[in-house]
Symmetry: C2
Subunit: 429 residues, 2 copies
């Protein structure tokens, strides 16, 4: 048997055809139509037909536990969000060049969650994807600072446009980043992030690049899920003193995943945990529970500097259906106190995970948990064994040895029990 | 009275407050929340609450004729598309890393419309926006050619990511384009596009840039709506001989707007009108009738060159709801023969427009029509006068003197009559 793998290997198509002819036929058609840049999860790809809460139902009617997907954050196909999308799609879809009160109301609501972290008069700009949000944030940072240099962590992921792929070493390796980008080690105990950032600024200056921004995912997901981030406030101060902006990439940690207090100022956001006051905040994945809506929140003076260079229009960004999806999602996050659930169930999970000898480290905030094994092989093996038990999970980190537990925020105690039972059976002893 | 303008000027807020206090209050809230980079159409912004066919209903119940919006191409809030979105959003939303037959079926259907223009085994890749599609097309072109140079027309618009804004001189002017970009005059009678492209290639080579791509909107919308494009096939041959790819930007002209024969090979696409066989085709705006779905179609060898550098994943791109929107939209385009309607009603409009003395030129294909006046002031005046008659329209071209008539493809004869009546009253005599 071939070793476990997170992705399906097209070379295994003949073997898949023996195990599951229907799946193999579909996969072959898929490869022909979508081409080789696409990946399917798992050695035996999965075909779902329906979702509900933290559960997905496959075409044979089997129930799967979803401990992986962070986009359907209030639950797969949540009825309130689906109803809001349905009603608006049947009524009006247009765009942001006409007046629409719901768009304004949502922007006000969203900005109100910042708790003043972006000053007294922050602005919201809407895009469709987190990639577009990070790309726009960089355009704003360049306009506001006159600089071009960007600092990111060593295994950062910020998206797939040309510009943000070039600040995402986790995609194509260190050699894929742009000449104006410098990497620093992720925050870690015993490290000195501020000194690393200072060295990066010096290196940029030596190459003729003034700083535009330090960009950080506030949970450092692709770096292995690092909730504590020692030295981050000091590093931020260094960047700011050099004239650069600080972009908090909240595409993954935002909207309550980290278990903050939804009613407290800034309680929905990862930067609040670190005591940061960023210049720009980027949003995405869970914002519309799966509808393509994302955005940039920024201090008024930086948005003004960008606007002085020209207008911004994103055809689908912030359209009335996107706003209906986003508003209903935010309403559900608060009405069902999903950050509270993330805090409670996440804490329970971390405590239980610490009881497994196989983990060399367990760290987390809310329902974003990294459970580190001693090797990539061990981690991929657990992913494959959990798949056999119909539990979805993935890995993270530069060495890919960390299990990434990142379920919908409506994950229940029963869901947590099922995950822990699965891990008890799947983990090496 | 201030001169006519297509956009609302925030300095006019006090005057708006006298004319329409409710609108002014909303606009003030909007500026505070969304900031200064956003624009509203018209000196008196419009607030719609509902759409149907080529009509929008404002909050006072007035019916507006939409001769501007190309996104809701099968009609505002079309019931089949809305129903498909509603059903899928309530069922499963996930992404392209699981098997989904509907996604494969749509990709096959879409690729089948190309009529072999991209070879025997083209691939489809999904994004959320036309900007992302053009950005991805450039990444593919760079990977496939090893070059970096891009050639575009002088007033081109290809989107808003950092990379595509840098090939969009219509956004920020000639000085805003990147060092690896060269502009050529748009195709025109008496011009020599091939010679212009050759000169651009020479200039790129002198600066050390090998060619990656010639990127053309196949209706040259922002250059003023130029359906004939003399010299385009020869220019394409020049680029290809130099090793560059040809990207047909079909974000605006595609999906039948230009009135092709939906049943004929390539009949939905603008490049077919010019006899081109592009390397990459980018799609967007009307693809999901307002749902954020877009994509890149490409020859297998170029997609393979890109895939050799790494995988591609777009979180929301091609998700099951996006596919439901796109499939139902494509089905409606064909079932209602909207390209045929565009051809018939468009031809009627062009003939009638030629009867107005005020136009110095009228040109079009299907329901993408440019009607040129003798100055920007004259064109903006007509836009403002049509607004008074509740008809939506806009301008295009480097000198902004061309009326851009680009309604939903379900535009009826009665809609055309209303537009022509409006123009008869609005045009200078």
């Amino acid at each position: 048997m071939a070793g476990p793998t997170t992705y399906f290997d097209p070379a295994d198509l003949p073997a898949l055809a023996e195990r599951d002819p229907r799946a193999a036929a579909l996969v072959a058609r898929r490869i022909a139509a979508l081409g080789p840049a696409y990946r399917l999860f798992y050695r035996d790809p999965v075909e779902f037909v329906r979702g509900d809460g933290a559960h997905l139902i496959d075409r044979d009617g089997h129930d799967w536990l979803d401990a992986y997907n962070n986009v359907p954050s209030v639950g797969h196909a949540h009825p309130r969000v689906a109803a809001a999308i349905a009603a608006q799609a049947a009524t009006l879809t247009t765009h942001t060049r006409y007046l629409d009160e719901a768009t304004i109301r949502y922007a006000e609501d969203l900005l109100g969650t910042l708790g003043g972290a972006l000053g007294d008069d922050p602005n919201a700009m809407f895009t469709c994807t987190g990639s577009e949000a990070n790309d726009l944030a960089l355009r704003i940072a360049v306009a506001a600072t006159g600089g071009r240099g960007v600092i990111v962590t060593e295994h950062a992921y910020h998206g797939v446009t040309t510009e943000v792929a070039a600040i995402s070493p986790s995609l194509g390796g260190p050699e894929s980043i742009a000449p104006w980008v410098r990497m620093v080690p992720p925050p870690r105990a015993g490290g000195d992030l501020a000194a690393d950032v200072r060295a990066a600024l010096d290196s940029l200056a030596a190459a003729g690049y003034a700083p535009a921004a330090l960009v950080v995912d506030t949970i450092f997901a692709s770096d292995g899920v690092l909730p504590d981030a020692p030295g981050l406030p000091e590093a931020v101060a260094v960047v700011r003193a050099a004239g650069g902006l600080v972009v908090a990439d909240e595409v993954q940690p935002g909207f309550g995943r980290l278990g903050g207090d939804a009613a407290a100022p800034g309680g929905l956001w990862g930067f609040t945990r670190h005591g940061l006051r960023p210049d720009l905040v980027t949003l995405g994945k869970p914002m519309g529970n799966g509808y393509p809506v994302a955005g940039v929140l920024g201090r008024a003076e930086h948005i003004a500097a960008f606007a002085a260079r020209g207008r911004y229009f994103n055809t689908f960004g912030g359209n009335p259906v996107a706003i209906a999806a986003a508003q209903s999602t935010l309403d559900v996050v608060r009405d069902e106190d999903l950050p509270g659930n993330a805090r409670r169930v996440g804490a329970r999970l971390v405590e239980a995970l610490l009881g497994f000898d196989a983990f060399v480290d367990v760290r987390g905030a809310g329902l974003f948990i990294g459970a580190e094994l001693d090797s990539e092989d061990a981690a991929l093996d657990v992913v494959a064994r959990l798949r056999e038990r119909r539990i979805l999970i993935a890995t993270a980190g530069a060495d890919n040895a960390t299990l990434k537990i990142r379920p919908p925020l409506c994950f229940t105690d029963a869901d947590a029990d099922r995950l822990l039972d699965g891990l008890a059976a799947a983990l090496p002893r």
